[in-house]
Every structure is written in structure tokens, then in C-alpha cells.
């Protein structure tokens, strides 16, 4: 189970702006460790965001998304919406976190 995300979501005039920080090393598979060995690729591949159970955003990531990925998007929604953000990575690790729209 991955580390917790930070999710901030605020509604303004019917638009909810969502900002997400995910904790993940996002290894490209091209870095070498101190011993000169390649560190294997390990990265989040898919992210899904649901509001009230309906998907409002999704992303496919490659290795070139920065470490500790950040996402910002906007959807039509309301204060009090229940958000569920989920990701999976190349090791099969996953993480889901919930947040309420303020």
C-alpha cells in the first residue's frame, strides 16, 4: 500500500479545483545507485479521480512525470463532493485516498 496523498479541493462558482500530491519515487530505470547498478523502473502508471462515484479525471503516466507527482485539474462540481483518488504502479502497489470538496 503506497504512502498517503495530499488532496486539496475547493469549489468556486460551480467549478471544483483539485490539487493532488502523490508520494512516489517515479524511478525512470535509467538512474544508477552508488554501486553503479541501474535502479529498476518503478512508477505510477494510472491515476483515477472519482467524484460521487463518477470518474471526473484520469491520467496515464510514464517515467517522465516528476518524483512526488503533482496534478491540478478542474471539474463541474459542488462543495461537499466526495472525491476518491486512486493510483496503481508498475509493482502492483496501489493507493486510494478520499477527500471532501470545501
Amino acid at each position: 500500500m503506497g504512502d498517503p496523498m495530499r488532496i486539496r479541493a475547493a469549489e468556486n462558482n460551480g467549478i471544483v479545483e483539485v490539487k493532488i500530491l502523490m508520494k512516489h519515487d517515479m524511478e525512470t530505470g535509467q538512474r544508477k545507485d552508488a554501486a553503479g547498478k541501474l535502479i529498476p523502473a518503478w512508477f505510477i502508471t494510472m491515476v483515477s479521480v472519482k467524484a460521487q462515484g463518477k470518474e471526473v479525471f484520469a491520467a496515464d503516466f510514464g517515467t517522465a512525470i516528476s518524483k512526488d507527482p503533482f496534478l491540478n485539474f478542474k471539474y463541474k462540481g459542488s462543495r461537499g463532493d466526495k472525491l476518491l483518488v486512486s493510483w496503481v504502479d508498475t509493482r502492483g502497489d496501489k493507493r486510494s485516498d478520499e477527500a471532501s470538496v470545501s
Partner: protein, 150 residues
Amino acid sequence: MNLQRREVLKYTAVFGLMASAGLISSAQAEEWNKAAFEGKTIEDVFSVFGAGSPDKSSAVILNVPEIAENGAVVPVSISTTLKAQQLAILVEKNPNALVAQFFIPTGTEPFVTTRIKMAQTSNVYALVKADGKWSMAAKEIKVTLGGCGG
């Protein structure tokens, strides 16, 4: 996940494992677009997407800094006045051009901000798919390594 995202080549390997472990559904296992992410050049990626030669469009807005102090974290923001269902970020001189794809259901704005890695100074492309048609915008971002402190 949304079945409309399934314009992709199917593959097994890594995701077969996840699906068999019940961690993601079989439908999801087939969705990560391996061929697109393995594309070396922007043309490779355009070809996998079936985007042909996308038109440069002023309706696609790519908001990026001209200079990135560090190539490990480069902020990129895409927005468009087109009714887009799909957005993508490509970096011409990265080992693999496609950085990420984003899927915009109805009710969501065609807008995203994220942070990407850039191997070196390069053109960065915002690709947008709206009503089956692909458009794009491009900008150069200079990548500096910066000094020892700061």
C-alpha cells in the same frame, strides 16, 4: 475506468500480473498505452495515437516557463478552448517522447497542470484531441542544471 479510453494496443506482461492479483481489473490491465509510452520520437507517438500530423493551433495553450532551473521538475500546464477529451504532453528530446496522457470526461475542464522531467533543453508539445481531431502547441524550454546550493 472509462471504456472510451480503449483506443490502445492490448498487451500483457506487467499488468497481467496486476490483473491476476486482483489489484486492478482486467479492463484496466489492458489500458496503459505501452506502445505510446515506448515511442522514441514525437512522430512515433503521433503514429500510435493515429494523430497523423497534428495542426498547430492557437486554441491550444501551453503554459510553461522559458527556463527550468532543474530538469527534474518542470511545471507544464495545458488548457484549450476546444472541447477536448484527451490531452497529452510530449518532450521531443526525452528518451521516450510521451510523458503523460490525460482523459477529460464531460463536465471536466480541458485543463491540467503537472510537473515533468526533461533530459535537456527541448521542445515540449501539448497535444489535444477534440471531436476526433488532433491539434497541438509547442514551446521550447531551456533546462539549466543550476549550481551547488540554493
